[in-house]
């Protein structure tokens, strides 16, 4: 058995990825607080260390050392399981996202993706779906009306918005049939990123981006669609009863979802790690991916600063009467186009 290729290298890659993601998460909170501050003409956190860069560390320490309480009236096993069940899938999404081209290191070709699997996008959808369980179970196990309402809202919102999102992804997968040699298309994110597409196909794909972005906002439960927690209606939604590190895990999940969704969107819509001169210097791919990812995260934060939260019925109405038909029309036109071409 070739244990170096099968176990050692993927293990090292996943350890690096997890460490980078978890530090990235901490500083993403800093970036968000700073940016939101500037959007509101404030300065944002600036007390701990230079530019407030010590705040994420202080927050992490505070969270860890807080008293951990499990209320008596909760379902204790599910209560403890919830945050983990939410966090693990949000980390797993990144397994199939190519963060860079294949690099030659230590005499081996090392692709910059943890799992180069042919069901890439399906994996993203499936794992993202499991992530909903963490939220719903957490809210259910808390045995608290606010938590339960938050959890119910989450499940309805996720299910509704997964539909237009899935249809848009189907349309995008249809376009990959134009790029593969045998014309059968691919689900593999590594191949989707590598694919050369003519400019009119890019333009057509980008046309779907605003719709997809709205779906992403709802799926990650970010403002303006932060119905799972809606603090002015539901205290804190599904995480009302959580404290200490369990609360931090939910918090982490939210930001990792943002990173994961951004990674997927960058790979599908904006060519992942590709950019000028990346053929000559493969290392640049990593840089391009990071820049594109940060731009996408900026878009998330910008949206949360700009748009107020709609009412809950408006959220569902918008999904079923506008987003879903629009996605269907988009997919139909794409399908016809792909068949004709």
């Amino acid at each position: 058995m070739d244990w170096i290729n099968l176990i050692l290298i993927p293990a090292i890659k996943s350890v690096i990825l997890v460490v980078v993601l978890l530090t990235g998460f901490a500083y993403l909170t800093w970036v968000e607080r700073k940016l939101i501050g500037r959007f509101q003409q404030r300065i944002g956190p600036n007390r701990a260390w230079k530019f407030g860069l010590g705040h994420p560390i202080a927050d992490a320490l505070k969270m860890i050392f807080k008293e951990e309480t499990i209320p008596n009236y909760t379902d204790k096993i599910l209560f403890a399981l919830g945050p983990g069940l939410a966090l693990a899938p949000s980390l797993l999404i990144f397994a199939v996202i190519p963060v860079g081209p294949t690099l030659r290191m230590f005499g081996k070709d090392i692709p910059f993706v943890v799992a180069d699997v042919n069901i890439g996008l399906l994996w993203v959808l499936a794992v993202g779906g499991i992530g909903t369980y963490g939220t719903v179970l957490g809210g259910w196990a808390s045995n608290n009306k606010y938590s339960l309402l938050g959890a119910l809202r989450t499940s309805a919102q996720m299910l509704s918005y997964e539909l237009p999102m899935g249809i848009l992804i189907i349309a995008l997968l249809l376009t990959t049939a134009l790029g593969t040699a045998d014309g059968s298309g691919t689900l593999n994110l590594v191949e989707i990123v590598r694919m050369d597409r003519p400019w009119w196909l890019w333009a057509w794909i980008w046309l779907a981006f605003p719709l997809y972005f709205i779906c992403m906002l709802a799926e990650t439960g970010r403002k303006p669609f932060d119905f799972p927690e809606t603090e002015n209606e539901l205290v804190a939604g599904y995480q009302t009863e959580y404290g200490s590190i369990k609360f931090a895990l939910y918090y982490m999940t939210e930001y990792l979802h943002v990173l994961g969704a951004s990674g997927v969107a960058v790979s599908v819509f904006f060519g992942g790690w590709r950019g000028p001169f990346v053929e000559q210097f493969p290392g640049l791919g990593l840089l391009y991916f990071t820049i594109k990812l940060l731009a996408m995260v900026f878009l998330f934060i910008w949206a949360s600063a700009s748009v107020p939260r709609p009412r809950y019925d408006q959220l569902l109405k918008f999904c079923w009467t506008f987003l879903f038909p629009a996605a269907l029309i988009y997919m139909a036109i794409t399908a016809v186009g792909v068949v004709l071409l």
């Binding site: 940016l35 500037r38 959007f39 003409q41 300065i43 949206a303 600063a305 700009s306 506008f322």
Partner: protein, 157 residues
């Protein structure tokens, strides 16, 4: 058709919202970093009392006790004494030997200031009044004559 119109208008409204926030992002923050930077106060702002002097160094207060009489809460206590003709403390016949202000009672109404015939007592701009014990709020003449800021506060009117 009206539905398409509505969708279009909504999209334009959201784009406008994005524009507003982007403009805010590109302008500089309005925050005053207060403990590091001084906070601006209005000219008529009334905070801690100050006893002023003339330019030649003589105290303005002549110990007439009108401020004590005018004070609605009894926060001011003045005891007057005769000036030494050789070394006068104030230009008049008398000066304030004791001038105490109890900031726990003071309501910063400014009546003492209005009552004062020689513009000696002024409610200045020093609003950082927090102290660690009650004694710190009982101000005596020395503290009122030597406020932290230079003795130049003049009301606009």
């Amino acid at each position: 058709m009206s539905y398409v119109n509505e969708v279009f208008r909504g999209a334009v409204a959201i784009a406008q919202a994005f524009g507003v926030t982007l403009k805010a992002l590109l302008s500089s923050p309005l925050t005053v970093e207060y403990p590091e930077q001084p906070a601006a106060v209005y000219p008529r702002f009334r905070a801690r009392h100050e006893l002023r002097r003339y330019e030649n160094g003589l105290e303005r207060c002549i110990g007439c006790m009108l401020c004590e009489a005018a004070c609605p809460t009894g926060a001011i206590h003045v005891e007057a004494a005769e000036n030494d003709p050789e070394h006068p403390t104030s230009p008049g016949e008398r000066y304030a030997k004791v001038y105490d202000v109890n900031l726990m009672r003071c309501v910063f109404c400014g009546d003492c200031e209005t009552a004062c015939p020689v513009e000696a007592v002024v409610l200045g701009h020093d609003f950082e009044l927090a102290v660690y014990n009650r004694a710190g709020l009982l101000l005596q003449k020395e503290q009122l004559l030597n406020p932290k800021a230079p003795n130049v506060v003049v009301r606009a009117e």
